[in-house]
């Protein structure tokens, strides 16, 4: 058994050093060995593809973000099943019911987003309801005016 602090964390230190070394090596090697060519063609974004047009800061439909977020949510929830599977035998029925509750809750959420049309790529309902829009942004603390005068 390793006893001192350094011994216990030696593998970690070793891995850190390795990672650092490999990173430095690869970047350094390409910097040293690579041949630098600077011209207009080389500086384009996709040297070997089609010519880019427009700006990269395009506005995407909010649906992309929505799907991305839903993916992350369900992805992480699915990951929760792995540790559960490991201890399933030890925990017996308790684990079963716990996971049942968990899955039911996820399904409820899934049902909700499905009904709300979040997964329907062509749905029109996601367009925002037109409320009255107030464009005035919140003012910071107002400039104190002169003393409050009472209506005469």
């Amino acid at each position: 058994m390793p006893t001192t602090l350094l011994e216990r964390y030696f593998p970690v230190v070793l891995q850190a050093i390795l990672a650092f070394a490999i990173g430095t090596l690869l970047i350094g090697a390409s910097a040293i060995l690579g041949k630098r060519v600077r011209n207009a063609v080389k500086n384009t974004a996709y040297e070997c593809g089609m010519t880019p047009y427009g700006t990269a800061k395009e506005r995407f439909s909010v649906k992309f973000y929505l799907v991305a977020m839903l993916f992350i949510l369900f992805d992480i929830e699915a990951i929760f099943l792995y540790p559960w599977a490991v201890v399933f035998r030890d925990l017996k029925m308790f684990a079963f019911f716990e996971m049942l509750v968990f899955v039911i809750l996820i399904l409820a959420g899934f049902f909700y987003i499905y009904k709300k049309g979040a997964l329907d790529w062509t749905a029109e309902e996601l367009k925002p309801v037109q409320h009255k829009i107030h464009v005035d942004l919140m003012p910071a603390d107002p400039v104190p005016s002169e003393k409050v005068t009472h209506a005469a």
Binding site: D141, P144, T149, H150, A151, A152
Partner: protein
């Protein structure tokens, strides 16, 4: 049980009825409800007192336990002893008279129902204050009367000066309340209870503190509260401004009842004060200084209500002096007689103002004696009473205070005598300016209706015989033992003579040789101006306290802290990272970054705090 709770409940019901439904009522109904409720509570006071006579012991009614926290129990209790009885009679009796008067005085004013609703609410809180059997309940009444006073001073809220005066009264009073609440906490700590009887029972076993101690601290803090409510130096500034309210309000709240609450509270806590000689001295000094200062200001004012306002401040100073020299019952006696004649002075002044179509400047009056003879007669009686002419009411109570002061220290007596002379002078100056000579105004003066002068007549009778008929100190002797102050004929004569001399001087200056005042004013212009401008105290407060606070909150906290520190900090740090932050700035609100850096600073501060206090160990 004698159902003491009914006494304050009557006006409360009146308030609720008039306040909620009053707008739809005719004036007759409003009058009946408002006046009737106060008269009912006056009658109930009489009934309770006759049933409880001779009231040698305190009678307590416990309704329910209001709050119980740890060892501290505060009951919703009313108590009645002889001191309470005197105050109850004054509050309900004079209150009834002033309510009647107000029905005439306010007849042509807007917001009629509102006025009477507030007035009834005031009565409710004042009676709660007087009946309270512990400090917390007293504090409830104390705050309540302050609120009503604020509402009633600002009654003519369209006038900016009136609403400003209301605010001033409220804010100044909060300073006093602050002292009072601290005093309550200290009482809890020292005695473990806030019940009057228990506190005083425990206090009476303690020997007087020669040195500065906890009881002295309690008394001084109570005094801070009393100073605010009873308009003593240095917190008296609100009372003269409070005259912006309708005249019946000035008479009821700012002369007869509420402002004497401070005196009542000190007398109620007499057992504590007697054990704190240092605090007693402070009470006496403050009272004396206020009496002198306010009297000198009163000498030169031209607004009739201002004169009486400063006179009230000055007379309250007398009451404090009485309490401070140990003659609590003499102080209360003066509360009673002062309630008679000062209410009369104010109501009479109201009648004069009413007659002159709202004019308050005495220089635009004069010669009213023939036009409003009844008002003149009652005001003259009131003036005699306050000047201390025997055998009118003011003579007795003032003498009792001055005797006690002489027993404590002769110089106090002499200062008091001089003040008495000044009092006589300014009151008679107002009488002479108003009623004698030629009329200098433009209105057509007319006598007030009977509903206004009948209460005046009743008060006039009380002012005449009130001192002789009611020997308050003797009556109060079971509650408030009288100390020192043996009656000395020669001292009494000197005090009376001072009053008469003041009257004479006023007569010379304003009746026989009218050129004297002008000549004196120009000869001593600086002094005159200083007095006329009330020693510039308002200006001093404005410059030294009001402005710095207003500016402080604006300049330091808003501009300084928010704009100055945080923005500058972020901007300062930002210049280095400007190249990088320039891009982000466009996408992000600058505010949020300010906030984030604030949070970061906060974290460092909190961790620093833990480190400092943890490392110290």
């Amino acid at each position: 049980m004698h159902s003491l709770w009914l006494i304050p409940i009557f006006p409360l019901v009146g308030f609720l009825i008039n306040g909620m439904l009053g707008r739809r009522f005719s004036k007759t109904v409003i009058n009946t409800v408002a006046v009737g409720s106060v008269v009912l509570s006056f009658l109930w006071v009489l009934k309770a007192l006759s049933a409880l006579a001779p009231l040698n012991e305190t009678y307590v009614e416990h309704y329910f336990t209001w709050i119980s926290s740890g060892t501290l129990d505060i009951g919703f209790d009313f108590a009645i002893d002889r001191l309470t009885m005197v105050m109850l009679l004054v509050v309900t009796g004079i209150g009834s008279l002033i309510h009647v008067y107000a029905t005439g005085y306010m007849a042509h004013e807007g917001g009629y129902y509102r006025f009477f609703a507030y007035l009834n609410l005031f009565m409710f809180f004042m009676l709660t204050l007087v009946l309270a059997a512990n400090y917390v309940l007293l504090f409830v009444g104390w705050e309540g009367v302050g609120l009503c006073s604020y509402l009633l001073i600002g009654f003519y809220f369209l006038k900016k000066s009136a609403s400003d005066a209301g605010k001033k009264a409220f804010i100044v009073n909060r300073i006093g309340d602050f002292g009072f609440s601290l005093a309550m906490f200290l009482i809890v700590i020292s005695f473990g209870t806030l019940d009057f009887q228990k506190v005083f029972a425990k206090a009476s076993t303690i020997s007087p503190e020669v040195q500065y101690g906890s009881i002295t601290t309690i008394c001084l803090l109570l005094l801070v509260g009393a100073i605010g409510k009873s308009a003593q130096i240095p917190l008296y500034v609100w009372l003269p401004d409070a005259m912006e309210g309708p005249t019946p309000v000035s008479a009821l709240i700012h002369a007869a009842t509420m402002v004497t609450a401070g005196v009542y509270m000190i007398a109620r806590s007499a057992t504590l004060f007697e054990r704190a000689p240092i605090a007693m001295d402070v009470v006496a000094y403050i009272g004396l200084a206020t009496a002198v200062m306010a009297a000198t200001i009163g000498l030169v004012q031209n607004d009739i209500k201002k004169v009486y306002a400063y006179s009230t401040v000055s007379q309250l100073g007398y009451m404090f002096l009485g309490c401070g020299v140990g003659a609590f019952s003499a102080g209360i006696w003066h509360v009673v007689t002062h309630a008679f004649f000062k209410a009369l002075l104010f109501l009479g002044a109201g009648s004069v103002i009413h007659a002159c179509a709202g004019e308050q400047d005495m220089q635009k009056m004069g010669g009213l004696m023939k036009k409003i003879p009844i008002t003149f007669a009652v005001l003259f009686i009131a003036a005699m009473a306050i000047a201390g002419v025997p055998p009118l009411s003011g003579h007795y109570s003032k003498d009792a205070i001055l005797m006690a002061a002489h027993a404590r220290a002769p110089w106090m007596y002499w200062v008091g005598v001089v003040t008495a002379g000044m009092t006589a002078f300014y009151v008679f100056r107002s009488i002479f300016l108003t009623f004698f000579g030629e009329y200098r105004g433009k209105a057509h003066p007319h006598e007030s209706p009977a509903v206004m002068w009948v209460p005046l007549a009743v008060l006039a009778v009380l002012s005449l015989i009130g001192g002789y008929a009611f020997n308050i100190p003797e009556f109060l002797s079971p509650v408030l033992p009288m100390h020192g102050g043996v009656h000395d004929e020669s001292l009494a004569t000197i005090a009376t003579a001072a009053g008469l001399a003041g009257i004479l001087l006023a007569a010379i200056c304003y009746l026989f040789v009218p050129s004297i005042p002008g000549a004196l004013a120009s000869a001593f212009a600086p002094i005159y101006q200083t007095l006329y401008d009330k020693y510039y105290v308002d200006e001093l407060y404005n410059v030294s306290i009001v402005k710095p606070i207003a500016n402080g909150s604006r300049e330091i906290l808003w501009k300084g802290a928010d704009v100055g520190v945080f923005d500058a900090l972020v901007n300062g740090a930002g210049t280095t990272s400007m190249a990088l932050g320039g891009l982000l700035r466009k996408m992000q609100s600058g505010n949020l970054r300010t906030y984030a850096s604030w949070v970061l600073i906060g974290i460092l501060l909190v961790m620093g705090g833990f480190a400092v206090y943890g490392g110290a160990k």
